[in-house]
C-alpha cells in the first residue's frame, strides 16, 4: 500500500487533468454527531462522492482548539457516549469499503490517552487508518507516540500556524511526513477568512522546509479561498463550514457546499 504522501501525490497528479480544482479535499466529520449512525452515513456519503481524505474527529467534552460550531457538535456527540474501540472498527470498515480514499482520525489527547496512545496507534494501523491528528499533543512530548507511529505505519500529522516561530516551524516542517496541517490564520476553527496575501508567504516559507504535502485549514468557506491555494498547497481542509452547511440542510447542503468550493 502506498504511503499517505504517495497517495496524496498520485491523486494530486490525477487532478491536474480533471475538471476539478487541482486540490485534494479533506472533509471533517465529527464521529457521533448528531448520532453515531448519522455520522457514519455522512462519512459514507462523502466517500461515495470521491472525497480523497476524510478527517474524523473523535469528540471530546473540552475541545479547546475548536470554534463554537464544532464545540456545540462535540458536546452533542459526547452525549451519545461514543466508544473509541467501536469508532476505530467502524472507520476500518469504511476504509475497506473505500480503498480509493484515506481516513485520518483527529481528536484531543485525553480520550486517546485514556484508551492508551500505543494501543490507539496499533488499533488504528490494524484498521487501515492513515494518520492521526492530536492538536493538543506537542511534538516535544510525543516521543513514544512517534515511535509507535513509525513502528505501525500510521502518520502522525503535526500542525503549524502563522504564530509558530520560524525556527520551530522549520523544525516541525522538516519532520513532517504524511502531510503537514497548516493553520491558515490565527485563532480557533471556523472564523471568517482574513487576508490572503500573508498566506502565500506563509506557505512558501513552509514549503522551503518540507516536501510533505501541505494541507490548509481553518476558515475555508468560499471558492476563491480554495483557488488561492492552487499551486501553493495540496489539500483544502473544510471543517466548520461543512458542519454549518450540514446543520442547515443535511448531507445535500454539505455536498452543495463542497461542489461550490470546487473540490468534489
Amino acid at each position: 500500500m502506498p504511503t499517505l504522501s504517495e497517495f496524496i501525490r498520485a491523486r494530486s497528479q490525477a487532478l491536474q487533468t480533471s475538471e476539478r480544482l487541482p486540490l485534494l479535499a479533506m472533509t471533517h466529520v465529527i464521529y457521533g454527531y448528531p448520532t453515531v449512525e448519522a455520522s457514519l452515513a455522512w462519512m459514507r456519503r462523502l466517500l461515495e462522492q470521491g472525497i480523497e481524505l476524510l478527517e474524523v474527529q473523535f469528540p471530546f467534552s473540552d475541545p479547546v482548539a475548536d470554534g463554537p460550531t464544532i464545540v456545540a457538535a462535540c458536546h452533542r456527540a459526547v452525549e451519545n457516549q461514543p466508544q473509541m474501540q467501536l469508532c476505530l472498527q467502524q472507520l476500518g470498515q469504511l476504509q475497506r469499503d473505500f480503498p480509493q480514499s484515506r481516513i485520518l482520525l483527529m481528536g484531543y489527547l485525553n480520550p486517546f490517552y485514556r484508551y492508551g496512545l500505543t494501543r490507539l496507534v496499533q488499533d488504528a494501523a490494524a484498521q487501515g487508518i492513515a494518520g492521526l491528528i492530536i492538536p493538543d499533543l506537542p511534538m516535544e512530548r510525543a516521543g513514544q507516540f512517534r515511535r509507535d507511529c513509525t513502528d505501525h505505519g500510521v502518520e502522525p500529522i503535526w500542525l503549524v500556524t502563522p504564530a509558530t516561530p520560524a525556527e520551530r516551524l522549520a523544525s516541525i516542517a522538516r519532520q513532517a511526513t504524511g502531510m503537514l496541517y497548516c493553520v491558515s490564520r490565527s485563532g480557533v476553527t471556523g472564523q471568517k477568512d482574513g487576508a490572503q496575501q500573508a498566506l502565500a508567504d506563509y506557505l512558501s516559507t513552509i514549503r522551503q522546509h518540507t516536501d510533505a504535502p501541505l494541507a490548509v485549514g481553518f476558515g475555508i468557506r468560499r471558492r476563491v479561498q480554495v483557488e488561492a491555494l492552487v499551486g501553493q498547497a495540496d489539500i483544502a481542509i473544510v471543517g466548520s463550514a461543512l458542519l454549518e452547511a450540514y446543520n442547515a440542510g443535511g448531507q445535500e447542503a454539505g455536498l452543495a457546499l463542497l461542489a461550490s468550493l470546487g473540490i468534489i
Binding site: 480520550p111 512530548r141 500556524t161
Partner: protein, 424 residues
C-alpha cells in the same frame, strides 16, 4: 515549588494547541525573568501591601478552641485581602507581569466570581481591557459578582456550552487567547493550566504560607502542627502548603468538595478515594473526573469556586507522594461549619473556605491542646449571602427579595424577564 521543566512528577506540562505555543513561551520567559528581578518583587510586595492590605492576620480562635477542646485553632485571614479572597495575591502578580510584557488586555475564567472580580479590579487599576468568561450556571449562582465585574468595566461573557461551569469558562478563555494572544494575556486564576501557570500562580500565592511561618513564630514560637486548605483548582492550598514542604512534621490537609453525594456529578472529589483518574486536558496533565472514554464529567459543590473537574498538577503530585492528606466535606458539613464560625468568632467565611473549616472542625477535638492548627480562610462569605440564606432556610429572605423587586424600576424588570441577567 520549582517544577521539573513544567512537570511535577507525571503531572503538569504544557499540552496546548500549537497556536498558543508562542504565547505560552512568552509567559514562561516573562515569569522566569520577573521572579528573579528584585525590582519586580519589590513592586509586587508594595502592591500586595498598599492595594490588598497584606500581610493578612493570623487570628487565634479562642472560642472555637474551647468548643472543640482539642488543638488551638488559628485562621489565616485571606478573607481580609482587598476583594475578599486570596485571589488578589495572584492577580496583582500577573497584572504586573502583563504590564511588563506590554500587553493591553487580560482574559480570565472565573468560577465563584472571586477571581473575576479580582482580575477586574486589577485591570481597572492598571488600565487594562478585561474580558471574563464565566459558566452560565455560575453567573446565575453568583450574580452579585457579575454585577461588580461589569461595574468595574469588565466584559463578562456567560459560557453556555457544556456543563456551564468553571471548566467550560476555562475552555472559552483558552479559545479567546488562541485568537488574541498578540495583545492579550490569559490571567489564569488557579494553579492549573499549561506551564508555567501552575508554578506562577503558586509562586504568587506562596506569600500566604510564608506569612504563616513568620506569624507562627512570632505568635507562638513554633510552626503549626497541621494546615488545612480547601482545594478547588488548588491555588490557596498551594499558597499555604508549599512554604512548608520541607517540614514533613507539619501535616497538610487538602479538603475537596463532597457536594451532595458520592455519585458522579454530585461532587467534586478528584483525589480523595481515587474518584478521579489521570488525564490530560485544558493544557495540563493531572487527575480529572472523567468517564472510561476520557470525557470530563460534571461536578457539583455548594461552593462555585470548588466546582472544578481537574486539580492543580502540584496538588495531584504531592497527594500522590503522600506529602498531602486529601479529604472532603459535604455541602451540609460546610454550611454547619460556616454557621459555627459566624457564631463563635464573628467571622463570615466563604463557602469555599468553609470546606477547610469543616474538615478541621472534624479533627480538632482529636488533637491535644498543645497542638496548633492553621486553617486557610481563603475568602469572605458576603458573596454567598443568597446561597447561605437558602441553605439555612432563612424565612425572611424571600420577603426581602420580594419587597426589593417591588421597588426596582419596572422597565428594568421587564428587560430582565426578557432574558437579560435573570440571575437572582
Amino acid at each position: 515549588m520549582m517544577s521539573d521543566n513544567g512537570y511535577y512528577g507525571q503531572y503538569g506540562g504544557s499540552y496546548i494547541p500549537e497556536i498558543l505555543y508562542t504565547s505560552q513561551q512568552q509567559v514562561q520567559q516573562a515569569f522566569d525573568e520577573a521572579r528573579n528581578d528584585p525590582a519586580f518583587i519589590q513592586a509586587l510586595e508594595q502592591q500586595w501591601q498598599q492595594y490588598s492590605g497584606r500581610p493578612t492576620p493570623l487570628t487565634f480562635c479562642a472560642n472555637l478552641t474551647e468548643h472543640f477542646g482539642g488543638a488551638q485553632i488559628y485562621l489565616k485571614r485571606e478573607d481580609l485581602n482587598h476583594s475578599g479572597a486570596h485571589k488578589m495575591n495572584n492577580v496583582i502578580g500577573q497584572g504586573l507581569l502583563v504590564k511588563r510584557m506590554g500587553k493591553k488586555r487580560v482574559i480570565a475564567e472565573t468560577g465563584a466570581g472571586q477571581h473575576g472580580i479580582a482580575t477586574a479590579l486589577v485591570a481597572a487599576r492598571l488600565g487594562l481591557e478585561c474580558t471574563i468568561y464565566m459558566g452560565a450556571k455560575d453567573v446565575a449562582r453568583q450574580y452579585p459578582n457579575v454585577f461588580w465585574m461589569r461595574q468595574l468595566g469588565a466584559t463578562v461573557i456567560p459560557v453556555t456550552t457544556g456543563s456551564q461551569t468553571l471548566r467550560d469558562a476555562l475552555d472559552e478563555a483558552l479559545r479567546d487567547w488562541s485568537g488574541s494572544y498578540a495583545d492579550s494575556h490569559y490571567l489564569i486564576g488557579t494553579s492549573c493550566g499549561c506551564a508555567p501557570f501552575p508554578e506562577m500562580v503558586s509562586f504568587f500565592q506562596s506569600v500566604i504560607g510564608r506569612e504563616v511561618r513568620q506569624q507562627s513564630q512570632a505568635q507562638f514560637g513554633a510552626l503549626p502542627d497541621r494546615l488545612y486548605a480547601c482545594v478547588g483548582g488548588g491555588s490557596n492550598a498551594c499558597g499555604l502548603f508549599l512554604p512548608f514542604m520541607d517540614e514533613a512534621q507539619v501535616e497538610k490537609v487538602g479538603v475537596e468538595a463532597g457536594g451532595k453525594g458520592m455519585a458522579l456529578g454530585e461532587h467534586s472529589i478528584r483525589l480523595s478515594h481515587d474518584l478521579g483518574q489521570p488525564g490530560i486536558a485544558q493544557g495540563f496533565a493531572s487527575i480529572f473526573l472523567q468517564d472510561n472514554q476520557g470525557q470530563l464529567q460534571e461536578t457539583h459543590s455548594i461552593a462555585a469556586g470548588l466546582d472544578y473537574v481537574g486539580v492543580s498538577p502540584i496538588i495531584a503530585h504531592l497527594a500522590e507522594q503522600g506529602q498531602l492528606r486529601m479529604t472532603y466535606a459535604s455541602d451540609q458539613d460546610v454550611v454547619d461549619a460556616c454557621t459555627l464560625l459566624l457564631r463563635k468568632e464573628g467571622i463570615i467565611p466563604a463557602l469555599e473556605s468553609s470546606h477547610a473549616l469543616a474538615a478541621a472542625f472534624r479533627e480538632a477535638g482529636t488533637l491535644s491542646p498543645q497542638q496548633r492548627i492553621v486553617i486557610n480562610l481563603s475568602g469572605r462569605g458576603d458573596k454567598d449571602i443568597f446561597n447561605v440564606a437558602r441553605a439555612v432556610q432563612d424565612a425572611e429572605f424571600p420577603q426581602f427579595l420580594r419587597s426589593y423587586l417591588r421597588e426596582y424600576p419596572d422597565n428594568l424588570q421587564l428587560a430582565s424577564d426578557a432574558g437579560q441577567g435573570r440571575a437572582v
